[in-house]
Symmetry: C2
Subunit: 197 residues, 2 copies
Amino acid sequence: MSLTHAILGLLTITPMTGYELKTQAFDNTIKYFWQADQAQIYRTLSAMAEQGWVESTLEIQEDRPNRKVYHITEAGLEELRRWLHTEQPLPVHRDPFLVQMFFAGQLDSATVLNHIARQRAAHQALLEQYKQLPVPPLNDPDLDHSRLFWRLTLEMGITTEKTYLDWLDQCEAAVREMIEANAQNPSANPWLKDSKA
Amino acid sequence: MSLTHAILGLLTITPMTGYELKTQAFDNTIKYFWQADQAQIYRTLSAMAEQGWVESTLEIQEDRPNRKVYHITEAGLEELRRWLHTEQPLPVHRDPFLVQMFFAGQLDSATVLNHIARQRAAHQALLEQYKQLPVPPLNDPDLDHSRLFWRLTLEMGITTEKTYLDWLDQCEAAVREMIEANAQNPSANPWLKDSKA
DNA sequence: TTTCATTATATGATTTTACATATACAATAA
DNA sequence: TTATTGTATATGTAAAATCATATAATGAAA
């Protein structure tokens, strides 16, 4: 599975604790292409340590919990390199909102517009977060190999969110148009319910 | 979970067997926002039948296996309506290729270009498949409520794939540029390995 | 002729993901 | 003062997803 390899890759950048992997790497940086649960990260780290792909050193701290800093081993590097050469399957799409929209013909228009607005806000927030990530732009002279790919994948996250927002706007427009069309149609149907407000 | 509600929704269109749900609905139509395994569909249908949300009638066939045609019940319709009113969480992104690209600085450029080309072909194929789905376009007068939302979600699938293809092209261009830049740089690094061909 | 694809349902086993909760101390906020 | 947030690791459990395989008939292809 790719979580293992995402972690292996991250540990080539710098040794990290499970907590840092979660809060700095996954939640802030690469969540637009791989999301991971905290519990899953810790358990995967244990499994990887058993495999011999990572090792940890305990850092004793006084005022806060001890840190288990993981670093990648030679075997881990080898596994990462092997995996990096393999062809990857297509992404799995599972978007519950799109399921909802697919069947939104069964909802009144006001509810649909409300759903759209909420999703819009959530995606907008994501986009803002991605935009603030400190990765040099494509035309930056500091863009070395690694950073080039970080920027490219970040661009993907940003573009995806922009596309999503555009689509939500398109949906809203289409729904409003449909409301108009129905308002002029005397054989009014229940779809208009509440939506005149 | 949304698989249940995707199935409930699909059964409001027409009664179907598990096989039809898989081959016609999921694999052909809505896989760009909800993918489902065959085994999972059958098991979910069983669970839904126990819940009382669907019922099945057995259609005896002579030359092929009998069909278990599921239809939605009143309780199922109620559950679907309830769910359609709830707010949905953001989509979960898990794209192993993007993980690979994030760490592609550790690969030689020829391998990266090869990976990109393969993904491109796969996404191109998906796009072609989506384009051929028989859903009336947005400006079609036959576009009723249901079909409007089918078209909107399909537009999302198409747009997403187009965006992905554009991004892959951008990646390819960036990698080729990086190759150029490195070729002129005498402090050649292993990244160029094999990529001069 | 044997293998493969299609139609159709189903189970076993495993892996992956998700959700909840526990511990523990410090600092900050209500 | 009490509650919450941040740092840090971990387990229990359940749900969901994946992969493999079984059955069984027909028809087509190698």
